[in-house]
Amino acid sequence: MSKKTAAATASGGEHAVSRKDLTRAQWVWKEMKTNKTGYFMVAPFMIIFLVFTVIPVILSIFLSFTSFNMLQPPKFLFLDNYIRLFLDDDIFITAIKNTLIFAAITGPTSYLLSLLVAWFINELSPRVRAIVTLIFYAPSIGGNVYLIWGTLFSSDAQGWVNGWLLNMGLINEPILWFFNANYVMPLCIVVALWTSLGTSFLSFIAGLQGIDKSYYEAAAVDGIKNRWQELWYVTLPVMKPMLMFGAVLAITGSFGFGGIVTALCGFPSVDYSAWTITHHLDDYGGQRWETGYASAIAVILFAMQLGANMLIQKLLSKVGQ
Protein backbone atom coordinates (compact mmCIF):
# COMPACT_ATOMS: atom_id res chain seq x y z
CA MET A 1 0.00 0.00 0.00
CA SER A 2 1.44 3.35 -0.97
CA LYS A 3 1.81 6.13 1.58
CA LYS A 4 -0.77 8.22 -0.18
CA THR A 5 -3.51 5.63 0.19
CA ALA A 6 -2.42 4.94 3.75
CA ALA A 7 -2.98 8.58 4.63
CA ALA A 8 -6.25 8.57 2.77
CA THR A 9 -7.52 5.49 4.63
CA ALA A 10 -6.41 6.97 7.91
CA SER A 11 -8.48 10.08 7.33
CA GLY A 12 -11.86 8.51 7.99
CA GLY A 13 -13.15 11.02 5.49
CA GLU A 14 -15.10 13.34 7.76
CA HIS A 15 -13.03 16.50 7.79
CA ALA A 16 -14.11 19.94 6.79
CA VAL A 17 -10.92 20.81 4.94
CA SER A 18 -10.72 19.06 1.63
CA ARG A 19 -7.78 16.78 0.97
CA LYS A 20 -7.03 18.76 -2.17
CA ASP A 21 -6.38 22.06 -0.37
CA LEU A 22 -3.34 20.67 1.42
CA THR A 23 0.08 19.39 0.49
CA ARG A 24 0.75 15.81 1.46
CA ALA A 25 2.95 16.80 4.41
CA GLN A 26 0.33 19.22 5.71
CA TRP A 27 -2.33 16.56 5.42
CA VAL A 28 -0.29 13.99 7.32
CA TRP A 29 0.57 16.55 10.00
CA LYS A 30 -3.12 17.40 10.42
CA GLU A 31 -3.97 13.72 10.69
CA MET A 32 -1.26 13.28 13.28
CA LYS A 33 -2.63 16.13 15.38
CA THR A 34 -6.24 14.96 15.28
CA ASN A 35 -5.20 11.44 16.25
CA LYS A 36 -2.61 12.27 18.87
CA THR A 37 -4.26 9.97 21.44
CA GLY A 38 -3.18 7.06 19.27
CA TYR A 39 0.44 8.12 19.54
CA PHE A 40 0.15 8.59 23.31
CA MET A 41 -1.20 5.07 23.62
CA VAL A 42 1.48 3.35 21.54
CA ALA A 43 4.32 5.56 22.79
CA PRO A 44 5.31 3.75 26.02
CA PHE A 45 5.48 0.40 24.29
CA MET A 46 7.02 1.68 21.08
CA ILE A 47 9.78 3.57 22.91
CA ILE A 48 10.86 0.41 24.73
CA PHE A 49 10.52 -1.59 21.54
CA LEU A 50 12.66 0.94 19.67
CA VAL A 51 15.35 1.15 22.35
CA PHE A 52 15.69 -2.59 22.92
CA THR A 53 14.90 -4.08 19.51
CA VAL A 54 15.01 -1.64 16.59
CA ILE A 55 17.99 0.48 17.62
CA PRO A 56 20.08 -2.58 18.60
CA VAL A 57 19.53 -4.01 15.11
CA ILE A 58 20.68 -0.76 13.50
CA LEU A 59 23.58 -0.42 15.94
CA SER A 60 24.66 -4.03 15.18
CA ILE A 61 24.70 -3.34 11.47
CA PHE A 62 26.84 -0.24 12.08
CA LEU A 63 29.22 -2.03 14.45
CA SER A 64 29.60 -4.95 12.05
CA PHE A 65 31.70 -2.66 9.83
CA THR A 66 34.04 -1.74 12.67
CA SER A 67 36.57 -3.13 15.07
CA PHE A 68 35.29 -2.44 18.58
CA ASN A 69 36.13 -3.80 22.02
CA MET A 70 33.73 -1.72 24.16
CA LEU A 71 36.65 0.31 25.61
CA GLN A 72 38.21 2.22 22.73
CA PRO A 73 36.05 3.99 20.13
CA PRO A 74 35.07 1.80 17.16
CA LYS A 75 37.50 1.77 14.23
CA PHE A 76 35.97 1.63 10.77
CA LEU A 77 36.93 -1.49 8.80
CA PHE A 78 34.29 -1.65 6.11
CA LEU A 79 33.85 -5.30 5.05
CA ASP A 80 36.87 -6.80 6.83
CA ASN A 81 34.76 -8.57 9.47
CA TYR A 82 32.65 -10.25 6.82
CA ILE A 83 35.67 -11.21 4.75
CA ARG A 84 37.31 -12.70 7.83
CA LEU A 85 34.13 -14.62 8.69
CA PHE A 86 33.75 -16.26 5.32
CA LEU A 87 37.38 -16.69 4.27
CA ASP A 88 39.33 -16.98 7.47
CA ASP A 89 37.10 -18.57 10.08
CA ASP A 90 36.61 -22.31 9.56
CA ILE A 91 34.58 -22.63 12.73
CA PHE A 92 32.11 -20.07 11.43
CA ILE A 93 31.66 -22.12 8.26
CA THR A 94 30.96 -25.14 10.47
CA ALA A 95 28.47 -23.00 12.40
CA ILE A 96 26.66 -21.97 9.23
CA LYS A 97 26.54 -25.56 8.03
CA ASN A 98 25.19 -26.84 11.35
CA THR A 99 22.66 -24.01 11.62
CA LEU A 100 21.34 -24.76 8.14
CA ILE A 101 21.12 -28.49 8.89
CA PHE A 102 19.28 -27.81 12.16
CA ALA A 103 16.95 -25.33 10.50
CA ALA A 104 16.27 -27.52 7.47
CA ILE A 105 15.38 -30.50 9.66
CA THR A 106 13.76 -29.08 12.80
CA GLY A 107 11.90 -26.21 11.11
CA PRO A 108 9.77 -28.19 8.64
CA THR A 109 9.49 -31.25 10.91
CA SER A 110 8.25 -29.32 13.92
CA TYR A 111 5.89 -27.37 11.70
CA LEU A 112 4.38 -30.48 10.13
CA LEU A 113 4.28 -32.27 13.46
CA SER A 114 2.39 -29.37 15.06
CA LEU A 115 -0.05 -29.30 12.18
CA LEU A 116 -0.58 -33.07 12.01
CA VAL A 117 -1.06 -33.52 15.74
CA ALA A 118 -3.39 -30.51 15.93
CA TRP A 119 -5.38 -31.93 13.02
CA PHE A 120 -5.50 -35.45 14.43
CA ILE A 121 -6.77 -34.35 17.83
CA ASN A 122 -9.28 -31.94 16.36
CA GLU A 123 -12.13 -34.45 16.39
CA LEU A 124 -11.53 -35.77 19.90
CA SER A 125 -13.93 -34.74 22.66
CA PRO A 126 -12.99 -31.39 24.27
CA ARG A 127 -11.83 -32.99 27.53
CA VAL A 128 -9.58 -35.56 25.87
CA ARG A 129 -8.30 -32.91 23.48
CA ALA A 130 -7.34 -30.66 26.39
CA ILE A 131 -5.32 -33.47 28.01
CA VAL A 132 -3.57 -34.45 24.79
CA THR A 133 -2.80 -30.78 24.10
CA LEU A 134 -1.21 -30.48 27.52
CA ILE A 135 0.99 -33.56 26.99
CA PHE A 136 2.28 -32.34 23.64
CA TYR A 137 2.69 -28.72 24.73
CA ALA A 138 4.23 -29.27 28.18
CA PRO A 139 7.83 -29.96 27.03
CA SER A 140 7.99 -26.56 25.35
CA ILE A 141 7.06 -24.59 28.49
CA GLY A 142 8.64 -26.74 31.19
CA GLY A 143 11.76 -24.60 31.58
CA ASN A 144 14.86 -26.78 31.74
CA VAL A 145 12.98 -30.05 31.64
CA TYR A 146 14.77 -31.05 28.42
CA LEU A 147 17.81 -31.72 30.63
CA ILE A 148 16.18 -35.09 31.36
CA TRP A 149 17.48 -36.18 27.96
CA GLY A 150 20.94 -35.73 29.42
CA THR A 151 20.00 -38.20 32.15
CA LEU A 152 18.39 -40.67 29.77
CA PHE A 153 21.41 -40.54 27.45
CA SER A 154 24.00 -40.07 30.17
CA SER A 155 27.55 -41.12 29.26
CA ASP A 156 27.95 -43.62 32.10
CA ALA A 157 26.35 -46.98 32.74
CA GLN A 158 23.79 -45.29 35.00
CA GLY A 159 22.24 -43.57 32.00
CA TRP A 160 19.02 -45.34 31.17
CA VAL A 161 19.82 -45.98 27.50
CA ASN A 162 23.39 -47.11 28.12
CA GLY A 163 22.24 -49.28 31.03
CA TRP A 164 19.80 -51.18 28.88
CA LEU A 165 22.14 -51.53 25.92
CA LEU A 166 24.84 -52.88 28.26
CA ASN A 167 22.43 -55.16 30.03
CA MET A 168 21.21 -56.66 26.79
CA GLY A 169 24.79 -57.13 25.66
CA LEU A 170 24.45 -54.91 22.60
CA ILE A 171 27.42 -52.78 23.62
CA ASN A 172 30.44 -53.52 25.79
CA GLU A 173 31.11 -50.08 27.13
CA PRO A 174 28.91 -47.00 27.64
CA ILE A 175 28.43 -44.72 24.63
CA LEU A 176 29.30 -41.06 25.25
CA TRP A 177 26.04 -39.94 23.63
CA PHE A 178 26.16 -36.16 23.96
CA PHE A 179 29.95 -36.16 23.80
CA ASN A 180 30.41 -38.25 20.68
CA ALA A 181 30.55 -36.25 17.46
CA ASN A 182 28.54 -38.94 15.63
CA TYR A 183 25.53 -38.74 17.93
CA VAL A 184 25.48 -35.09 18.98
CA MET A 185 23.57 -33.65 16.02
CA PRO A 186 20.86 -36.33 15.73
CA LEU A 187 20.26 -36.34 19.49
CA CYS A 188 20.05 -32.55 19.69
CA ILE A 189 17.60 -32.57 16.80
CA VAL A 190 15.42 -35.10 18.63
CA VAL A 191 15.47 -32.97 21.80
CA ALA A 192 14.74 -29.83 19.77
CA LEU A 193 11.73 -31.55 18.21
CA TRP A 194 10.60 -32.69 21.63
CA THR A 195 10.39 -29.07 22.79
CA SER A 196 9.04 -27.69 19.54
CA LEU A 197 5.27 -28.07 19.80
CA GLY A 198 4.77 -24.58 21.15
CA THR A 199 2.78 -21.51 20.22
CA SER A 200 2.26 -22.51 16.59
CA PHE A 201 0.78 -25.82 17.78
CA LEU A 202 -1.78 -23.93 19.90
CA SER A 203 -2.45 -21.60 17.01
CA PHE A 204 -3.17 -24.55 14.70
CA ILE A 205 -5.48 -26.16 17.26
CA ALA A 206 -7.44 -22.92 17.55
CA GLY A 207 -7.49 -22.46 13.79
CA LEU A 208 -8.91 -25.94 13.23
CA GLN A 209 -11.50 -25.45 15.95
CA GLY A 210 -12.62 -22.23 14.34
CA ILE A 211 -13.46 -23.74 10.96
CA ASP A 212 -17.18 -23.78 10.29
CA LYS A 213 -18.54 -27.35 10.09
CA SER A 214 -20.76 -26.41 7.18
CA TYR A 215 -17.67 -26.08 4.94
CA TYR A 216 -17.02 -29.80 5.40
CA GLU A 217 -20.61 -30.76 4.75
CA ALA A 218 -20.63 -28.70 1.60
CA ALA A 219 -17.32 -30.25 0.56
CA ALA A 220 -18.72 -33.76 1.13
CA VAL A 221 -21.66 -32.95 -1.10
CA ASP A 222 -19.23 -31.63 -3.71
CA GLY A 223 -17.48 -34.99 -3.80
CA ILE A 224 -14.58 -34.77 -1.35
CA LYS A 225 -13.83 -38.43 -0.74
CA ASN A 226 -11.56 -38.66 2.29
CA ARG A 227 -10.02 -36.68 5.10
CA TRP A 228 -6.84 -35.97 3.15
CA GLN A 229 -8.75 -34.27 0.38
CA GLU A 230 -10.71 -32.45 3.03
CA LEU A 231 -7.44 -31.23 4.57
CA TRP A 232 -6.01 -30.08 1.26
CA TYR A 233 -9.09 -28.48 -0.31
CA VAL A 234 -10.95 -27.13 2.72
CA THR A 235 -8.92 -26.99 5.91
CA LEU A 236 -5.56 -25.63 4.78
CA PRO A 237 -6.87 -22.78 2.61
CA VAL A 238 -9.15 -21.60 5.45
CA MET A 239 -6.30 -21.83 7.95
CA LYS A 240 -3.81 -19.92 5.84
CA PRO A 241 -3.31 -17.02 8.30
CA MET A 242 -2.44 -19.52 11.08
CA LEU A 243 -0.14 -21.40 8.76
CA MET A 244 1.76 -18.18 8.08
CA PHE A 245 1.97 -17.26 11.76
CA GLY A 246 3.14 -20.78 12.67
CA ALA A 247 5.77 -20.68 9.94
CA VAL A 248 7.26 -17.48 11.35
CA LEU A 249 7.66 -19.02 14.79
CA ALA A 250 9.02 -22.31 13.41
CA ILE A 251 11.63 -20.59 11.22
CA THR A 252 12.76 -18.12 13.87
CA GLY A 253 13.07 -20.89 16.44
CA SER A 254 14.92 -23.31 14.21
CA PHE A 255 17.53 -20.74 13.12
CA GLY A 256 18.05 -19.46 16.65
CA PHE A 257 18.77 -22.92 17.98
CA GLY A 258 21.65 -23.20 20.44
CA GLY A 259 20.60 -23.11 24.08
CA ILE A 260 19.71 -26.79 24.23
CA VAL A 261 23.08 -27.77 22.74
CA THR A 262 25.00 -25.70 25.29
CA ALA A 263 23.02 -27.21 28.15
CA LEU A 264 23.38 -30.82 27.02
CA CYS A 265 26.71 -30.98 25.18
CA GLY A 266 28.72 -28.22 26.86
CA PHE A 267 30.32 -25.16 25.29
CA PRO A 268 31.77 -25.88 22.80
CA SER A 269 30.20 -29.19 21.83
CA VAL A 270 32.73 -31.93 21.06
CA ASP A 271 34.71 -31.09 17.88
CA TYR A 272 32.24 -28.24 17.27
CA SER A 273 29.89 -30.98 16.03
CA ALA A 274 26.76 -29.03 16.98
CA TRP A 275 28.24 -25.52 16.95
CA THR A 276 25.67 -23.07 15.56
CA ILE A 277 25.77 -19.37 14.66
CA THR A 278 24.21 -18.59 18.05
CA HIS A 279 27.22 -20.25 19.72
CA HIS A 280 29.69 -18.39 17.54
CA LEU A 281 27.95 -15.16 18.49
CA ASP A 282 28.10 -16.00 22.20
CA ASP A 283 31.74 -16.89 21.87
CA TYR A 284 32.87 -13.62 20.23
CA GLY A 285 30.31 -11.33 21.85
CA GLY A 286 30.06 -12.72 25.36
CA GLN A 287 33.50 -14.23 25.96
CA ARG A 288 36.10 -12.60 23.70
CA TRP A 289 34.51 -9.14 23.59
CA GLU A 290 35.31 -8.72 19.89
CA THR A 291 32.17 -6.69 19.56
CA GLY A 292 32.59 -5.59 15.95
CA TYR A 293 33.24 -9.12 14.76
CA ALA A 294 30.39 -10.49 16.88
CA SER A 295 28.08 -7.85 15.42
CA ALA A 296 28.88 -9.12 11.93
CA ILE A 297 27.88 -12.62 13.09
CA ALA A 298 24.66 -11.20 14.55
CA VAL A 299 23.89 -9.39 11.30
CA ILE A 300 24.35 -12.61 9.31
CA LEU A 301 22.03 -14.52 11.66
CA PHE A 302 19.54 -11.66 11.44
CA ALA A 303 19.67 -11.67 7.64
CA MET A 304 19.27 -15.45 7.49
CA GLN A 305 16.26 -15.48 9.80
CA LEU A 306 14.54 -12.52 8.16
CA GLY A 307 15.36 -13.76 4.67
CA ALA A 308 14.06 -17.28 5.31
CA ASN A 309 10.91 -15.84 6.87
CA MET A 310 10.15 -13.47 4.01
CA LEU A 311 10.77 -16.20 1.45
CA ILE A 312 8.44 -18.66 3.17
CA GLN A 313 5.78 -15.97 3.67
CA LYS A 314 5.90 -15.29 -0.03
CA LEU A 315 5.54 -19.00 -0.84
CA LEU A 316 2.74 -19.55 1.67
CA SER A 317 0.78 -16.55 0.45
CA LYS A 318 0.46 -18.40 -2.86
CA VAL A 319 -1.29 -21.38 -1.21
CA GLY A 320 -4.81 -21.71 -2.53
CA GLN A 321 -4.43 -19.02 -5.19
Binding site: G142, L202, G285, A298
Partner: protein, 291 residues
Amino acid sequence: MSKKLRTRKHQVVLNRSVGGDAGITFFLVIMGAFMFLPLLYVVLQALKPLDELWMFPPRFYVINPTLQNFGDLFSLMSDSWVPFSRYIFNTVFISVVGTAGNLLLGSMAAYALSKLKFPGRDFMFNLIVKSLMFTSTVTGIATFITMSLLHWVDTYFAVIVPAFGSTLGLYLMKQFMESSVPDATLESARLDGASEFYTFWVIAMPMVKPGWLTMIVYSFNGLWNSGASIYIYSEQLKTLNYAIGQITAGGIARAGASAAATVVMMAVPIIVFVVTQSNIIETMGSSGMKD
Protein backbone atom coordinates in the same frame (compact mmCIF):
# COMPACT_ATOMS: atom_id res chain seq x y z
CA MET B 1 -26.91 -42.62 -5.05
CA SER B 2 -27.11 -43.28 -1.37
CA LYS B 3 -23.90 -43.29 0.60
CA LYS B 4 -23.79 -44.93 3.99
CA LEU B 5 -22.93 -42.23 6.50
CA ARG B 6 -20.95 -43.14 9.60
CA THR B 7 -22.03 -41.69 12.89
CA ARG B 8 -20.20 -41.03 16.09
CA LYS B 9 -22.15 -39.91 19.16
CA HIS B 10 -25.25 -39.45 16.99
CA GLN B 11 -23.45 -37.00 14.73
CA VAL B 12 -22.68 -37.69 11.14
CA VAL B 13 -18.97 -38.22 10.62
CA LEU B 14 -17.92 -37.19 7.17
CA ASN B 15 -15.53 -39.10 4.97
CA ARG B 16 -13.78 -41.04 7.70
CA SER B 17 -12.36 -44.51 7.09
CA VAL B 18 -11.80 -46.98 9.90
CA GLY B 19 -8.28 -47.59 8.66
CA GLY B 20 -7.53 -43.88 8.82
CA ASP B 21 -8.86 -43.63 12.35
CA ALA B 22 -6.68 -46.58 13.39
CA GLY B 23 -3.59 -45.13 11.73
CA ILE B 24 -4.11 -41.76 13.37
CA THR B 25 -4.65 -43.33 16.78
CA PHE B 26 -1.46 -45.34 16.34
CA PHE B 27 0.51 -42.23 15.37
CA LEU B 28 -0.88 -40.26 18.30
CA VAL B 29 -0.04 -43.03 20.77
CA ILE B 30 3.56 -43.31 19.54
CA MET B 31 4.07 -39.54 19.48
CA GLY B 32 2.30 -39.16 22.81
CA ALA B 33 4.67 -41.71 24.36
CA PHE B 34 7.67 -39.87 22.90
CA MET B 35 6.43 -36.60 24.43
CA PHE B 36 5.16 -37.95 27.74
CA LEU B 37 7.67 -40.59 28.86
CA PRO B 38 10.59 -38.15 29.40
CA LEU B 39 8.29 -35.94 31.47
CA LEU B 40 7.19 -38.96 33.49
CA TYR B 41 10.80 -40.01 33.90
CA VAL B 42 11.75 -36.67 35.52
CA VAL B 43 8.96 -37.09 38.06
CA LEU B 44 9.93 -40.72 38.76
CA GLN B 45 13.61 -39.77 39.12
CA ALA B 46 12.62 -37.12 41.64
CA LEU B 47 10.81 -39.75 43.70
CA LYS B 48 13.61 -42.35 43.68
CA PRO B 49 15.64 -43.04 46.84
CA LEU B 50 19.42 -42.96 46.47
CA ASP B 51 19.92 -46.71 45.96
CA GLU B 52 17.41 -46.80 43.12
CA LEU B 53 19.11 -43.90 41.36
CA TRP B 54 22.29 -45.99 41.20
CA MET B 55 20.69 -49.32 40.41
CA PHE B 56 22.06 -51.34 37.51
CA PRO B 57 20.42 -51.85 35.10
CA PRO B 58 18.64 -48.54 35.64
CA ARG B 59 14.92 -48.82 36.18
CA PHE B 60 12.33 -46.58 34.64
CA TYR B 61 9.85 -47.00 37.48
CA VAL B 62 10.32 -46.24 41.13
CA ILE B 63 9.88 -49.06 43.65
CA ASN B 64 9.90 -47.23 46.97
CA PRO B 65 8.90 -43.64 46.23
CA THR B 66 10.24 -41.04 48.66
CA LEU B 67 10.17 -37.27 49.03
CA GLN B 68 13.77 -37.31 50.29
CA ASN B 69 15.06 -35.57 47.15
CA PHE B 70 12.79 -32.58 47.72
CA GLY B 71 14.09 -32.42 51.29
CA ASP B 72 17.68 -32.56 50.00
CA LEU B 73 16.92 -29.77 47.55
CA PHE B 74 15.65 -27.71 50.44
CA SER B 75 18.74 -28.29 52.56
CA LEU B 76 21.05 -27.61 49.59
CA MET B 77 19.19 -24.35 49.18
CA SER B 78 19.83 -23.35 52.76
CA ASP B 79 23.60 -23.39 52.38
CA SER B 80 23.75 -21.28 49.26
CA TRP B 81 25.94 -18.20 49.10
CA VAL B 82 23.16 -15.64 49.42
CA PRO B 83 19.94 -16.63 51.23
CA PHE B 84 17.88 -18.77 48.90
CA SER B 85 14.79 -16.69 49.58
CA ARG B 86 16.60 -13.91 47.72
CA TYR B 87 16.64 -15.92 44.47
CA ILE B 88 12.97 -16.74 44.92
CA PHE B 89 12.19 -13.07 45.58
CA ASN B 90 14.15 -12.02 42.47
CA THR B 91 12.33 -14.41 40.19
CA VAL B 92 8.91 -13.57 41.60
CA PHE B 93 9.64 -9.82 41.54
CA ILE B 94 10.97 -9.89 37.97
CA SER B 95 8.11 -12.10 36.77
CA VAL B 96 5.36 -10.05 38.39
CA VAL B 97 6.63 -6.55 37.52
CA GLY B 98 7.74 -7.54 34.02
CA THR B 99 4.40 -9.22 33.30
CA ALA B 100 2.36 -6.31 34.66
CA GLY B 101 4.29 -3.80 32.56
CA ASN B 102 4.06 -5.90 29.42
CA LEU B 103 0.32 -6.33 29.94
CA LEU B 104 -0.37 -2.63 30.52
CA LEU B 105 1.88 -1.12 27.85
CA GLY B 106 1.29 -3.95 25.39
CA SER B 107 -2.49 -3.99 25.56
CA MET B 108 -2.69 -0.20 25.39
CA ALA B 109 -0.54 -0.24 22.25
CA ALA B 110 -2.57 -3.20 20.92
CA TYR B 111 -5.75 -1.18 21.39
CA ALA B 112 -4.36 1.82 19.52
CA LEU B 113 -2.93 -0.34 16.74
CA SER B 114 -6.15 -2.26 16.22
CA LYS B 115 -8.84 0.34 16.92
CA LEU B 116 -7.44 3.80 16.22
CA LYS B 117 -6.31 5.23 12.92
CA PHE B 118 -3.25 7.41 12.61
CA PRO B 119 -0.45 7.88 10.11
CA GLY B 120 2.34 5.37 10.68
CA ARG B 121 0.14 2.81 12.40
CA ASP B 122 0.55 0.10 9.79
CA PHE B 123 4.26 0.76 9.62
CA MET B 124 4.60 0.30 13.38
CA PHE B 125 2.66 -2.95 13.35
CA ASN B 126 4.74 -4.15 10.43
CA LEU B 127 7.91 -3.54 12.44
CA ILE B 128 6.45 -5.52 15.33
CA VAL B 129 5.62 -8.44 13.04
CA LYS B 130 9.18 -8.30 11.63
CA SER B 131 10.52 -8.53 15.18
CA LEU B 132 8.91 -11.97 15.47
CA MET B 133 11.15 -13.05 12.61
CA PHE B 134 14.47 -13.02 14.47
CA THR B 135 15.66 -14.16 17.87
CA SER B 136 16.70 -11.80 20.63
CA THR B 137 20.24 -13.21 20.55
CA VAL B 138 20.74 -11.07 17.44
CA THR B 139 20.32 -7.87 19.45
CA GLY B 140 22.13 -9.09 22.57
CA ILE B 141 25.43 -7.25 22.05
CA ALA B 142 23.95 -3.94 20.97
CA THR B 143 21.44 -4.12 23.80
CA PHE B 144 24.35 -4.58 26.18
CA ILE B 145 25.85 -1.32 24.93
CA THR B 146 22.49 0.42 25.38
CA MET B 147 22.25 -0.97 28.92
CA SER B 148 25.74 0.36 29.76
CA LEU B 149 24.84 3.81 28.44
CA LEU B 150 21.71 3.79 30.61
CA HIS B 151 23.78 2.51 33.58
CA TRP B 152 21.31 -0.37 33.85
CA VAL B 153 23.85 -3.18 33.77
CA ASP B 154 23.55 -5.20 36.96
CA THR B 155 20.17 -3.77 37.98
CA TYR B 156 16.65 -5.18 37.87
CA PHE B 157 15.86 -2.70 35.09
CA ALA B 158 18.06 -4.63 32.67
CA VAL B 159 15.77 -7.65 32.89
CA ILE B 160 12.41 -6.06 33.57
CA VAL B 161 12.21 -3.14 31.13
CA PRO B 162 13.02 -5.08 27.93
CA ALA B 163 10.31 -7.57 28.99
CA PHE B 164 7.79 -4.68 28.85
CA GLY B 165 8.50 -4.44 25.13
CA SER B 166 8.09 -8.14 24.33
CA THR B 167 6.21 -8.36 21.05
CA LEU B 168 4.57 -11.80 20.83
CA GLY B 169 1.98 -10.97 23.51
CA LEU B 170 1.22 -7.62 21.91
CA TYR B 171 0.83 -9.26 18.52
CA LEU B 172 -1.67 -11.82 19.88
CA MET B 173 -3.57 -9.13 21.79
CA LYS B 174 -3.80 -6.84 18.76
CA GLN B 175 -5.15 -9.61 16.55
CA PHE B 176 -7.61 -10.68 19.25
CA MET B 177 -8.91 -7.14 19.84
CA GLU B 178 -9.36 -6.66 16.13
CA SER B 179 -11.60 -9.72 15.91
CA SER B 180 -13.50 -9.53 19.18
CA VAL B 181 -14.06 -5.87 20.06
CA PRO B 182 -16.81 -4.44 17.83
CA ASP B 183 -16.10 -0.95 16.53
CA ALA B 184 -19.73 0.02 17.06
CA THR B 185 -19.45 -0.46 20.83
CA LEU B 186 -16.40 1.79 20.97
CA GLU B 187 -18.05 4.35 18.73
CA SER B 188 -21.11 4.61 20.97
CA ALA B 189 -18.88 5.06 24.02
CA ARG B 190 -17.07 7.87 22.23
CA LEU B 191 -20.38 9.50 21.31
CA ASP B 192 -21.26 9.44 25.01
CA GLY B 193 -18.14 11.53 25.56
CA ALA B 194 -15.83 8.82 26.89
CA SER B 195 -12.12 9.54 26.50
CA GLU B 196 -10.04 7.14 24.45
CA PHE B 197 -8.27 5.88 27.59
CA TYR B 198 -11.59 5.24 29.30
CA THR B 199 -12.90 3.41 26.23
CA PHE B 200 -9.77 1.26 26.19
CA TRP B 201 -9.71 0.44 29.88
CA VAL B 202 -13.41 0.20 30.78
CA ILE B 203 -15.04 -0.91 27.53
CA ALA B 204 -12.45 -2.82 25.49
CA MET B 205 -10.32 -4.55 28.14
CA PRO B 206 -13.16 -6.48 29.84
CA MET B 207 -14.08 -7.85 26.40
CA VAL B 208 -10.65 -9.36 25.81
CA LYS B 209 -10.08 -11.30 29.03
CA PRO B 210 -8.69 -14.34 27.16
CA GLY B 211 -6.28 -11.96 25.44
CA TRP B 212 -4.79 -10.55 28.58
CA LEU B 213 -4.67 -13.93 30.28
CA THR B 214 -2.62 -15.10 27.29
CA MET B 215 -0.31 -12.10 27.54
CA ILE B 216 0.15 -12.77 31.25
CA VAL B 217 0.94 -16.45 30.69
CA TYR B 218 3.45 -15.77 27.90
CA SER B 219 5.24 -12.99 29.71
CA PHE B 220 5.21 -14.81 33.04
CA ASN B 221 6.53 -18.09 31.60
CA GLY B 222 9.33 -16.32 29.81
CA LEU B 223 10.44 -14.43 32.90
CA TRP B 224 9.93 -17.36 35.27
CA ASN B 225 12.24 -19.53 33.15
CA SER B 226 14.86 -16.80 32.74
CA GLY B 227 18.24 -17.95 33.94
CA ALA B 228 21.63 -16.30 33.91
CA SER B 229 21.50 -12.96 32.15
CA ILE B 230 24.52 -11.32 30.54
CA TYR B 231 23.37 -8.03 32.10
CA ILE B 232 23.50 -9.30 35.69
CA TYR B 233 26.70 -9.99 37.67
CA SER B 234 25.67 -9.66 41.32
CA GLU B 235 24.72 -12.86 43.05
CA GLN B 236 21.99 -10.96 44.93
CA LEU B 237 20.16 -10.16 41.68
CA LYS B 238 20.23 -13.62 40.14
CA THR B 239 17.19 -15.77 39.55
CA LEU B 240 15.81 -19.00 40.93
CA ASN B 241 16.43 -20.78 37.66
CA TYR B 242 20.10 -19.78 37.78
CA ALA B 243 20.43 -20.86 41.43
CA ILE B 244 18.84 -24.21 40.75
CA GLY B 245 21.18 -24.63 37.81
CA GLN B 246 24.08 -24.13 40.23
CA ILE B 247 22.71 -26.79 42.57
CA THR B 248 22.21 -29.31 39.81
CA ALA B 249 25.64 -28.54 38.35
CA GLY B 250 26.94 -30.27 41.48
CA GLY B 251 27.10 -33.37 39.31
CA ILE B 252 25.95 -36.93 39.70
CA ALA B 253 25.93 -36.83 43.49
CA ARG B 254 22.96 -34.51 43.26
CA ALA B 255 20.99 -36.40 40.61
CA GLY B 256 17.97 -36.79 42.88
CA ALA B 257 17.88 -33.20 44.07
CA SER B 258 18.40 -32.05 40.52
CA ALA B 259 15.37 -34.01 39.29
CA ALA B 260 13.35 -32.60 42.20
CA ALA B 261 14.41 -29.08 41.19
CA THR B 262 13.36 -29.69 37.58
CA VAL B 263 9.96 -30.91 38.76
CA VAL B 264 9.48 -27.78 40.89
CA MET B 265 10.52 -25.46 38.06
CA MET B 266 8.35 -27.10 35.41
CA ALA B 267 5.30 -27.47 37.65
CA VAL B 268 4.62 -23.72 37.77
CA PRO B 269 4.29 -22.99 34.02
CA ILE B 270 2.41 -26.25 33.47
CA ILE B 271 -0.12 -25.48 36.22
CA VAL B 272 -0.52 -21.94 34.87
CA PHE B 273 -1.22 -23.38 31.41
CA VAL B 274 -3.73 -25.95 32.71
CA VAL B 275 -5.72 -23.20 34.43
CA THR B 276 -5.70 -20.86 31.42
CA GLN B 277 -5.72 -23.34 28.52
CA SER B 278 -9.21 -22.61 27.19
CA ASN B 279 -8.55 -18.85 27.25
CA ILE B 280 -5.23 -19.23 25.44
CA ILE B 281 -6.76 -21.38 22.73
CA GLU B 282 -9.53 -18.81 22.33
CA THR B 283 -6.93 -16.05 21.87
CA MET B 284 -5.03 -18.17 19.37
CA GLY B 285 -8.21 -18.33 17.30
CA SER B 286 -7.29 -14.92 15.92
CA SER B 287 -3.51 -15.38 15.88
CA GLY B 288 -3.32 -15.74 12.11
CA MET B 289 -1.23 -13.45 9.95
CA LYS B 290 -2.93 -11.62 7.12
CA ASP B 291 -0.78 -10.92 4.14
